[in-house]
Amino acid sequence: MGVAVTIETVFFGIFSLGALAGAVAMFFLRHPMRVALALIGTMLSLAAIYAQLGLHVIAVFQVLIYVGAVMVFMIYAIMLLDVRDRSFTERFSPLLVAGLAGLLLLVGVLVDGLLRGEPVVTPVIREDVFSVGTFAAVFMDEFWVYFALAAVLLLVAEIAASAVIDIRRRGEDLAAARREKLDE
């Protein structure tokens, strides 16, 4: 990557702005659905950046898994829980000011640190590594164990989710418990 302003830099700049704009929008948008859309915008911007960085596989995953699976699930939940209560009317928590102060500090310290921190290792540019084929080969060769473990993790997540969902069946127990506690 060069120092001069290249077309790449402009590209990165635009999508960075896009990503940031999405993130900032998430702050202010009232409706969760719109927040979700803003997040998706951010994610897509990032996907573009990944692609430009040559991480095509990752860019694809970003779109497929994140936007395709996670956010869809999220949007589903948002639609399911369309409650217009205080969480809707009042966007911000009582800690808005404190949070923003924290934001300033954190952004300051992180950005300052990241800007000043340069990788100590000499960059090795290997354009070919992250093509789909090569990456897959590397993955399957050296990192296959993570693939297996990912399967375990997802299985566990399924079990966990189903367990939590099952609890709803016990709503009656819960109501009884609450009554008893109120009697106390």
Partner: protein, 626 residues
């Protein structure tokens, strides 16, 4: 013979144990046999021991009983030491003691604590013998404290009267003050002499190896002990109060024996005092002042026993005066004679009290001479003896003291003599005052009391007679000369022996003057004296108030100490500063706990903010200097 002294000491102890443990159950007879028999037996043993001593021509008899403690190179042994001095003391103690035990049978008859009384009395004898026979200061101290204990118990014998119990406590505490000095003196002596055995201490000091400063300090410290026990200024305050005990006790402990322990101590350690002229001077000064001041107080006391108590203090002052001018033998001589006449006086007073059913106020007596003649007779003899009328006992000893007060080459001084002589005059005055007010003149008794007046039983009167007899003859023993090998008399400053004769004549004149004065002032129930006092009302108040020493101690020592204990130690120190700060810390912990609980508010936003805060903090921290 081996074990003789041990036997002497143990006899009363056996009496104490038997009476103390079994007396209540086995009855009066048993108590009498044990409680009175054993002291007489002890007297017999004492006589035997004395004979043995004399057989050996006065060479000290040492009897080691056991080793109390060995610490490193130091050994503390329990050993008895009999020389002429301790023999005289032992004889006085057992002799007068045995008589008073006998007297007590009548006096204490029917008392609830009869067995207890004899047990205590025996205990006293035991400790007193320990005191006089102990070879080392340690054993002496054991006896010293022990007689204090016995005194405490006997003063508070009728413990249900809180005032009496309090008097016992006062005696004990005051003595303890002296004991503190005693201990320090003992430590100091030990540090230099490396031993506590008194004969060796004397040797060590006599060898002149010990600095004068140390000898002086040790002398003064030990003398502080003596002032406590012997009721000298400034620790004399307990003795008058000690009269709360049964009268025989006053006679034995607070007149004849225990209170003279201080005199004995100083005489015993004459080797130390010979090396410490300054300490000796102090003793003389304290002695004569005590003698004088006590005598002045005695002048206005109205309680028969209190008069005698102050008289005791005064006489002890005389003894210390003698000690202070180096006339140790003379002091012991006065101790000896005093033991008899003062015992006789007290027991006589006891007889009076007995006769009057407990009445002690001399203003409500009078005219008893005819009603209780035996008592009167013996009392009169003893009074004459203490007043110094020749040829009675007190005359000889007191005269010697006054003579050495001026003539001694070791501290004799005109003013000592003058004050001493004045005191002698006062002595005669207050003693005859007592005699007049109690026995002569017309009766001022309550009618109720008067009806019951009766002469005491023979166990009591016989003792009075014996003691009166000794009050007459005790002065004829040349005790100072007998003790001379042990306690050298100081050299006399005046070349012409005739001075002594003058002094004798003067002293007798003083005694007679006192007698006459008393006879004049206290005729007619003491009205002339009252009129006289009317004129010196302020002085009377001071004297009747005993110079307000008690009040002074109360305000200057006791109350401040209580105040400090209560306000400073307890309230300020313990409660406010120490516990207060601890409770403060506990409150701080509770406060922080509450603060932490508030932080844990349940709000997820807040929790996230805390995390955010933590992150920012650690990042800033680690990136601080890069």
């Amino acid at each position: 013979m081996d074990g003789m002294l041990t036997l002497l000491v143990l006899l009363p102890l056996a009496g104490f144990l038997l009476n103390g443990l079994l007396g209540r159950r086995l009855g009066t007879g048993f108590v009498n046999v044990v409680g009175v028999g054993l002291p007489f037996l002890a007297f017999g043993v004492a006589l035997w021991a004395w004979r043995t001593l004399e057989a050996g021509d006065g060479a000290p008899i040492v009897e080691t009983v056991f080793t109390w403690a060995v610490v490193g190179e130091y050994s503390f042994e329990v050993a008895f030491y009999l020389d002429r001095l301790s023999a005289v003391m032992a004889l006085i103690v057992t002799g007068v003691g045995a008589l008073i035990h006998l007297y007590s049978i009548g006096y204490m008859k029917g008392d609830e604590g009869y067995a207890r009384y004899f047990a205590y009395l025996n205990l006293f004898l035991f400790f007193m013998l320990l005191l006089v026979l102990g070879r080392s200061l340690l054993v002496l101290f054991v006896g010293w404290e022990g007689v204090g204990l016995a005194s405490y118990l006997l003063i508070g014998f009728w413990f249900q009267d809180a005032a009496k119990a309090r008097a016992g406590r006062k005696a004990f505490i005051t003595n303890r003050v002296g004991d503190a000095g005693f201990l320090l003196g003992m430590f100091l002596v030990f540090t230099f002499a490396g031993t506590l055995e008194m004969d060796r201490i004397n040797e060590a000091f006599a060898a002149g190896l010990i600095p004068v400063g140390v000898a002086t300090a040790a002398g003064i410290l030990l003398f502080i002990g003596a002032t406590g026990k012997s009721a000298q200024i400034p620790l004399h305050v307990w003795l008058p109060d000690a009269m709360a005990g049964p009268t025989p006790v006053s006679a034995l402990i607070h007149a004849a024996t225990m209170v003279t322990a201080g005199v004995y101590l100083v005489a015993r350690l004459s080797g130390v005092y010979l090396e410490a002229p300054a300490a000796s001077t102090l003793i003389a000064v304290i002695g004569v002042l005590t003698a004088f001041l006590a005598a002045t107080i005695a002048l206005v006391q109205t309680d028969i026993k209190k008069v005698l108590a102050y008289s005791t203090i005064s006489q002890l002052g005389f003894m210390f005066l003698a000690l202070g001018v180096g006339a140790y033998g003379v002091a012991v001589f006065h101790l000896f004679t005093h033991a008899f006449f003062k015992a006789a006086l007290f027991l006589g007073a006891g007889s009076v009290i007995h006769a009057l059913n407990g009445e002690q106020d001399i203003r409500r007596m009078g005219g008893l001479a005819r009603r209780i003649p035996w008592t009167f007779g013996t009392f009169a003899i003893a009074t004459a003896a203490i007043a110094g009328l020749p040829p009675l006992a007190g005359f000889f000893s007191k005269d010697e003291i006054l003579w050495f007060a001026i003539a001694s080459g070791e501290g004799g001084a005109l003013w000592l003599w003058a004050l001493g002589s004045l005191t002698a005059l006062l002595t005669a005055l207050y003693m005859f005052r007592l005699l007049w007010l109690v026995f002569l003149g017309h009766s001022r008794m309550e009618p109720e009391t008067e009806r019951h007046v009766h002469e005491s039983p023979v166990t009591m009167t016989s003792v009075l007679v014996v003691l009166a007899a000794f009050s007459v003859i005790a002065g004829w023993f040349a005790l100072p000369q007998y003790l001379e090998p042990l306690l050298a008399l100081p050299e006399v400053r005046f070349a012409w022996g005739g001075w002594h004769l003058l002094q004798v004549i003067f002293a007798v004149l003083l005694a007679l003057l006192g007698l006459a004065g008393a006879a004049w002032l206290y005729r007619d129930g003491g009205r002339p004296a009252d009129e006289l006092w009317q004129r010196f009302r302020r002085l009377h108040r001071v004297l009747a108030g005993k110079y307000f020493v008690d009040e002074f101690y109360d305000r200057a020592l006791q109350r401040p100490w209580r105040w400090v204990s209560d306000r400073v130690f307890l309230r300020l120190g313990d409660r406010l500063l120490i516990d207060g700060s601890l409770h403060g810390l506990a409150a701080l912990a509770r406060w922080s706990a509450a603060a932490f609980a508030r932080v844990q508010s349940g709000s997820l936003h807040w929790y996230a903010w805390m995390t955010l805060f933590g992150l920012v903090a650690v990042l800033i921290w680690v990136w601080r200097y890069v």
